[in-house]
Symmetry: C2
């Protein structure tokens, strides 16, 4: 059974402090339907998209095109209500929310590692988009081999899911293709 | 020369929408001084810390201990003013902010990949902390090999920095040790 917690601040948060962010741009993709959107970039090869950064921030993009991969941080603006335990796409069992990548998080921040194809001014063309069209962009960080090449030794419940099953479910083309 | 942009919303943001987040916990580490804090987890081996999650969210941590590595998302609450071009720690040249991991970002969200050592209830003991003591925690996501093992082919200006120099600067023990 899922544990739903209201998003109301006074009831849910121990720490009343507010952190206010504003979109720095929008992510444009071909994804508009939940059941046709890949669950992760690794299952979104061949799903292009454009990351638009608002003009005010364009100067911050200098030299970004030298990197092959980017972390995109964005607001899961269409996430469902917060649930502290969820059944992930890849396994029909409940897990703690933070042991999953579910969008229904206390702070609905999404994280995707996408491939940078080219930059045209404030428009960054990418591949591997697993993000809904129109999603508000919060931040872009370069993926840096010397910082980010970690090799997990344990993958929790994910280690119980075989690769073929993960790929089949993750791509989410089943509904469309057959 | 750095380009400073005021944080004032009306002047800086094309999109007036506000996204309000609240800390879900605090990160406790031994780091209190900027010039003694490693610049990235990869240079923070042997720097332990405790990620405290507020009681309201403890149920969301179930099964997290099965994963060896975590993404921590947090608020750079002591970041300097936004700059759209910055000189990163590792190179004495200006780069666009988004081509660096500088904390002085429009939305000051930090991202660190840390090693999970053990979980005791709502306290997660980790290694590889490059985060100031008391930093507000926004989210925890498991690092999943099948999702997150990307192999960048280009690392932009970072490819111009040799590994020995990066490590020496990144660890930031120079000031302390000699």
């Amino acid at each position: 059974m899922s544990t739903a917690v209201p998003r109301d601040r006074d009831a849910s948060f121990e720490d009343g402090s507010e952190i206010v962010f504003h979109p720095i741009g929008r992510i444009h993709s071909g994804h508009t339907k939940r059941d046709r959107t890949p669950i992760q970039p690794v299952y979104a090869y061949g799903c292009p998209g454009v990351v638009e950064v608002y003009p005010k921030f364009e100067a911050g993009l200098a030299d970004l095109e030298g990197f092959s991969h980017l972390f995109l941080l964005y607001h899961f603006d269409r996430a469902g209500p917060l649930k502290l335990t969820v059944k992930p796409f890849l396994q029909d069992r409940e897990h703690g929310l933070f042991a999953t990548r579910s969008p229904s998080r206390p702070n609905a921040i999404g994280l995707s590692i996408v491939e940078l194809i080219r930059r045209e001014g404030r428009f960054i063309h990418c591949d591997g988009l697993d993000i809904f069209d129109g999603t508000p962009l919060l931040d872009i960080k370069p993926v840096v081999s010397r910082f980010d090449s970690v090799h997990p030794t344990r993958n929790g419940w994910q280690d119980e899911v075989d690769e073929e099953t993960a790929r089949k479910i993750g791509i989410k083309k089943g509904e469309k293709d057959g």
